[in-house]
Every structure is written in C-alpha cells, then in structure tokens.
C-alpha cells in the first residue's frame, strides 16, 4: 500500500454515528468492515435486508455515435442486444484472454452507456478504454460524482417501496429505471441488481444526496441494517460471485473463473480477446474454479495452496471463509481441470499442515 491518504465516500462522516467498526484500507478507500458483526449482518441480508455503502465503485460514461461499437469491442458479452434501461454483467479482457475487469454495463440511451467498475481498477480501466478510443465517443469518469448504495435481501423491495411511488415490482432483474424519486431526491437510478445472491437494488445518486438517502432508508424501516465489507464478502462468496483480484485477474480468464457465460464468442462483431478465448473454449480451459469443503479442521484463505490426494500441487484458493449460512469451512479454488469433478478429494495447505477437502457443488448458496 502507498502512503496516500485513504479516499472517503460521501457517507464516511456518517459511519461513526451508525456504529461502524474497523475502518480499513480497501483498495485505497476507507470503508467499514462491519457495523454490528459480519455474521449478524450476513444473516440480516439473507433473512431481511441490509444496506451497503458501495460508493467506492467506479462509474464511467461512454457516450456518442460510436459508443455501442466501442463498448461491444471492449466487452466479452453482447452489448448490442441490450435494451435501454437494461444492465448486463460482462468481462473486459486483454488480447490473451486475461481479465482487465468484471463490470456491469448499463444502457442509459441509444448512444450512452454507464460502466460500473471495481474501485481498485478505475484508473486501469480508464487507461485501457482510452487506448481503444474511437472518434465520436466521449469517455467520462463520473466516479467522483456518483454515490452508490445497495439495499439487498428479501425485504429490500418492500422497504425501498416506502420511499417511492415508482412501482418497484415492475423492475425485473438486470433492469433499471432512471430519475426515480426516492424520498425528496429526484434523480436516482434504481437498478435491480446486487452482489449478495439475494433480491435487491443498487441505487445510484449524486454524491450530495448520498447522506440523505442513507438516512431516509434506515429511518423507513427498522428491519434494514447497515452492513460493511465483511458481510458483502461472505454473501458474494456463498453465491459464487467473482471478486476481481481473487477469482479474476489479468492472468485468469473468464472461462477459468466460471463466468464463461459472459463470453459471447459468436456475437456479431469482433471483441478484444476473441481469438484467445475462442481457442480456450475449443480446447477446454486448463484450470477451473471449484468449490471446496474442508473435511478436517481449518479455514481456507486466499492464496493457500491446493494439492491432489497424491500431494501434487494443483492450484490455489481464490477465496475462503467460514460460511455463515451453510456453517461450514468453504473455499473457492482455481485448480487443474482434471481435479474439478464433484467429489474429488484434494488437500489444502493450511499453515504447515495438509488438510483434507472435497470438491462440492457451487454456488454454495442459492436463493429459493
């Protein structure tokens, strides 16, 4: 980490009054690990609803006559079939198929797209996008102007509905509505998306409105609980939602990371990484992301080595924790493809010991 002062979201000054514990450096941002406790917040989101400040996420607007062409060239998913007010999860790859970032593309208008990117990748993504810039396109970094709150959980729709006349049940998954009025705030983008494996919404509002929005939401219903980074991570982990820097990186392709569904080899126009990804798809990826359950004792953590039952090194843990919902010690691991079959017995090196584990089905948690 550098010595640069940590960046603060527009909600930073409110954290203390909502009981935030442990403000940490998360990719250069000062963010709370938890408010009550990680496990408590995790269950709140699975059973009721939680509110997350995710304003550190980056927003990049791509606008102009060639906007769709540029976005479709950069992204592995098919952007041309998006309707206005529809969002799509996609990877953005290098020529060799390694991943620049994973992100959501929002189609705001025919010639206007909003990319929601990982906080730690904002500068890298902007450089990458600019290096493929076309005439008739403007690329604007709106990250410093747009705040994002996520309200997630089975009760999220009912709680959010208390603040608006817009009928939220009509917003289908991966659809959104622009310029929604929430409480007294008139210009919120309300998107039925999330990173927890539950139903919920992500709300994009100008920085100046973020504090009012946070307060109004928590005042509207006491079932809604403020949540920190810790629960965000355990929730996304159980749902097997990739985290860039762990499941994905410049040396991990979308096929390896289990998000091959974002790669549309046959889409109508060329895209960066197409040749490498086409070849990988034909040959089958050499490594696969699998779920591991620890049979012995210990918790797998990011970076721990994975061995076959005959003690050969076969991969590494990308993410791991004690799963609050399933109550087991679970990990995601990137392993050689021949060890990816369900039921395969492997070993994880936890400190100095090799601990038995087995390949299990993922996602670990699926909403009913």
């Amino acid at each position: 980490m550098s010595d640069k002062p940590l960046k603060q979201t527009p909600l930073f000054s409110l954290y203390q009054s909502y009981g935030a514990k442990k403000i940490i450096d998360y990719g250069g941002w000062a963010l709370p690990v938890h408010f009550s406790s990680i496990i408590d917040e995790h269950h709140a989101v699975r059973q009721k609803a939680g509110l997350f400040d995710v304003s550190h996420m980056g927003e990049i607007c791509i606008e102009g006559k060639a906007a769709e062409k540029l976005v479709n060239l950069l992204m592995t998913n098919d952007i041309t079939s998006l309707e206005i007010n529809q969002a799509r999860y996609t990877a953005m790859c290098y020529q060799d198929g390694g991943t620049v970032d994973d992100l959501l593309v929002y189609k705001l208008a025919d010639q206007k797209f909003l990319l929601v990117v990982n906080a730690a990748n904002i500068d890298k993504d902007l450089d990458w996008i600019h290096s493929h810039r076309m005439n008739d396109v403007t690329i604007t970094n709106l990250s410093e102007q747009i705040a994002q709150l996520a309200i997630q959980g089975p009760e999220a729709v009912n709680i959010l509905q208390k603040l608006t006349d817009t009928n939220l049940t009509e917003i289908k998954p991966f659809r959104f509505v622009q310029n929604v009025q929430l409480a007294d705030i008139t210009n919120v983008l309300v998107s039925r998306t999330g990173y927890t494996g539950e139903d919920g919404f992500e709300l994009y509002a100008p920085h100046q409105q973020a504090q009012v929005l946070w307060r109004e939401l928590l005042r509207a219903d006491d079932r809604l609980q403020p949540c920190g980074l810790g629960a965000r991570d355990t929730l996304r982990f159980e749902a097997k939602l990739a985290l860039y820097g762990q499941e994905l990186s410049s040396s991990i392709t979308p096929f390896e990371a289990g998000i091959g569904f974002t790669v549309k080899i046959d889409k109508s126009s060329d895209f960066i990484g197409k040749a490498a990804l086409t070849q990988e798809k034909q040959n089958q990826p050499a490594r696969k992301l699998v779920g591991l359950e620890i049979i012995d004792k210990g918790i797998p953590r990011h970076g721990y080595k994975v061995f076959s039952s005959s003690d050969q090194e076969i991969g590494f843990i990308t993410s791991g924790t004690h799963s609050p919902t399933i109550q087991k010690h679970l990990g995601l691991a990137l392993v050689q493809a021949e060890y990816a079959k369900l039921g395969t017995e492997v070993q994880v090196q936890i400190r100095s010991r090799l601990v038995n584990a087995v390949v299990v089905e993922t996602p670990f948690y699926k909403r009913k």
Partner: protein
Amino acid sequence: MTNTQLRFTKKHEWVLPLDEERARIGITNHAQEELGDIVFVENAEINQQVNAHDSLGVIESVKAASEFYAPLSGEIVAINEQLEDEPERINDDPYQDGWLVEIAYNKPQELETLLTEADYQAFLSEEE
C-alpha cells in the same frame, strides 16, 4: 472484569495466575473486538512445552487468521475444549468462558515482565 491478579501482554493476551505453578491464558476483550466473529480455534496441545513468545495457536474470525502467543514458559496442562464447538465463547466472554489454555509455568519471574491492567489500558490508548 477487574481482577487485580490479571496480567497482560502487548500482544493482547491475558494471564491469570491460578496458583504458584499454574496460569490460565486468554485473549483480551480488545483483541476479540478487533478480530470480530470468531469461528475457529486451532489450539495448543496438552503436554506441549513452550517458551514465552512462542506461537500457541491460531484464532480465526470470519475475515482473518490471527496467532496467539505464550506469555510464559512451561507446559500446556489444559486446553479449553469447549472452543472446538463454540469458538464464539471468546467473543461472548473473553476473560471467563473464552479462556484458551492453562500453562504450568516454570519461570515465575516472567510474570514480573507482564503488564498490569492499568499499564495495558495505557498501552491501548497509545496504540490508537
């Protein structure tokens, strides 16, 4: 929690001498708060010989793994077996139910090097 016999380390363990030979060890309330929800303890083993400052085991929270250390030299004579199924006892009651090990200490002079509660509190406020 105000037991005048309690002693502390700068690594956030507490030590309670039970008699002339035996002391109970745990982690402080500050330490459990820093760790958050504790979900697994890899404890020391009975009969293990330890020197002061040796690693005794690992306490894992949802987020991270953290080692704890021997405040005294000697032999491990008891471990809190209830932590195997209920590691959250450390969060709920770090000074009683959440104890970790008992050591038969063989260098009583090491007790003198530990912090009193007042010293430990002062150390904590310096750290912040």
